[in-house]
Point group: C2
Chain length 227, copies 2
Amino acid sequence: MSLRYAILGYLSTGPGTGYDLARQFDTGLGWFWSARHSQIYPELKRLTEDGLITRDTTMVSENMDKYIYSIAPEGLAVLRDWASKPPTYAPNRDTERLQLIFSDDSPESLRKHLETHRDHFRRRREKLQATIDTIRAGEHERVNSRLARRGPEEAALTLQLREMAYVGDIERADLEIAWAERGLAWLDSHEHKPKGRQQGAALAAPQAAGVQQVGEGGVPADASAAP
Amino acid sequence: MSLRYAILGYLSTGPGTGYDLARQFDTGLGWFWSARHSQIYPELKRLTEDGLITRDTTMVSENMDKYIYSIAPEGLAVLRDWASKPPTYAPNRDTERLQLIFSDDSPESLRKHLETHRDHFRRRREKLQATIDTIRAGEHERVNSRLARRGPEEAALTLQLREMAYVGDIERADLEIAWAERGLAWLDSHEHKPKGRQQGAALAAPQAAGVQQVGEGGVPADASAAP
DNA sequence: GTCGGCATGTAAGCGGTTACATGATTGG
DNA sequence: CCAATCATGTAACCGCTTACATGCCGAC
């Protein structure tokens, strides 16, 4: 149940409405968590009942209210407590990889698969880059409002952690793009000679430390000699 | 609902029991999907009812049966159809990153966080490497039984896709390890001078293509000049 | 006037986790 | 004899998605 902490985390950078949260989570990027408004509103209610956040009501009209939520000291404590615990890792579930390894009966679609993968991470990379650029330029409102409440030493740490998180995700995206492009290059070198015995294009990344290389290419020579 | 396809995929490499599936998914590694037996058994029942798999019963004793499932032609078709569709990407949900960016109120735990991260991906990398080594050596039973049913051309593609999947995941693990180690190095260079103004250790990976570099280090000089 | 963005909620259903439950076989 | 592994199931619960539902406000 990280949603709770994601909300507390957001509100720790300043007050906001449910709609603000929904926009951040739903457009997702710049963010490391995602949620729909149908999940957010009930959770805000629960957090208020638990005394972790407070709610201010501003009347918009007779039959329409707007609620601005702020984090309470108890909420800040809960957030800090949670963040200080070492991370746990959910079991891996990767639909893309699953599809990939069972695509060997439908090779025509492989190219499209890899192109989709590459394009997905290109888009993601662009958005991450744009966000970290904004933070670096000191123009990210939420980050700034968090920094404003802190001394210069704490501020440096806040920025360092954002930097680590975004740079890490950008590198992930770069890796996925390079991976897909290597796959596409392999396809290129094989598509006009589908009967090919030649195990051409290098598969493993040149710089990938510690990856054991096999003789000729990605596929061992005796591969089909298996039972 | 990828579980259904993960099961079909597994059974496409040969018959197996629910328990076999549970072991593969639950120990997770070597695999790109995960599930508990409590989810697997009902799904096997549904797949049988839908005619995608068949069930053979071997009586173990009077009041205990054992069921061996095999993929049906309809199941193979459904699997192939699913695998040939371009991948879709679930919204990003990353507890670890979320914890990281809100650790700026509890810096003492940062080191442990990064060490846990590094160790997690080291273990994962080891298991992935062991599996791909087995496949490369032609000693992976499931992969071999899949290869046995196919001609040499198809076999080459099967192996290529496994290679891509495992190498891709190994590179991901390498990236995470390197990322965590860079973070730890940064911590080292800051722990004995917590008041430090000096923005020491490089943050961005030296080889990360296209990552915009900032002047001195990971953090822009005017960072705390924000409102 | 209607369309898109702001704003807030509820309900059904699904996929996954945790816990409960039972029994056979094998080896120390 | 007891523990571990093999083997199969059910039930309660939780988090997330999809869909349903309503209403304000400003701009074109």
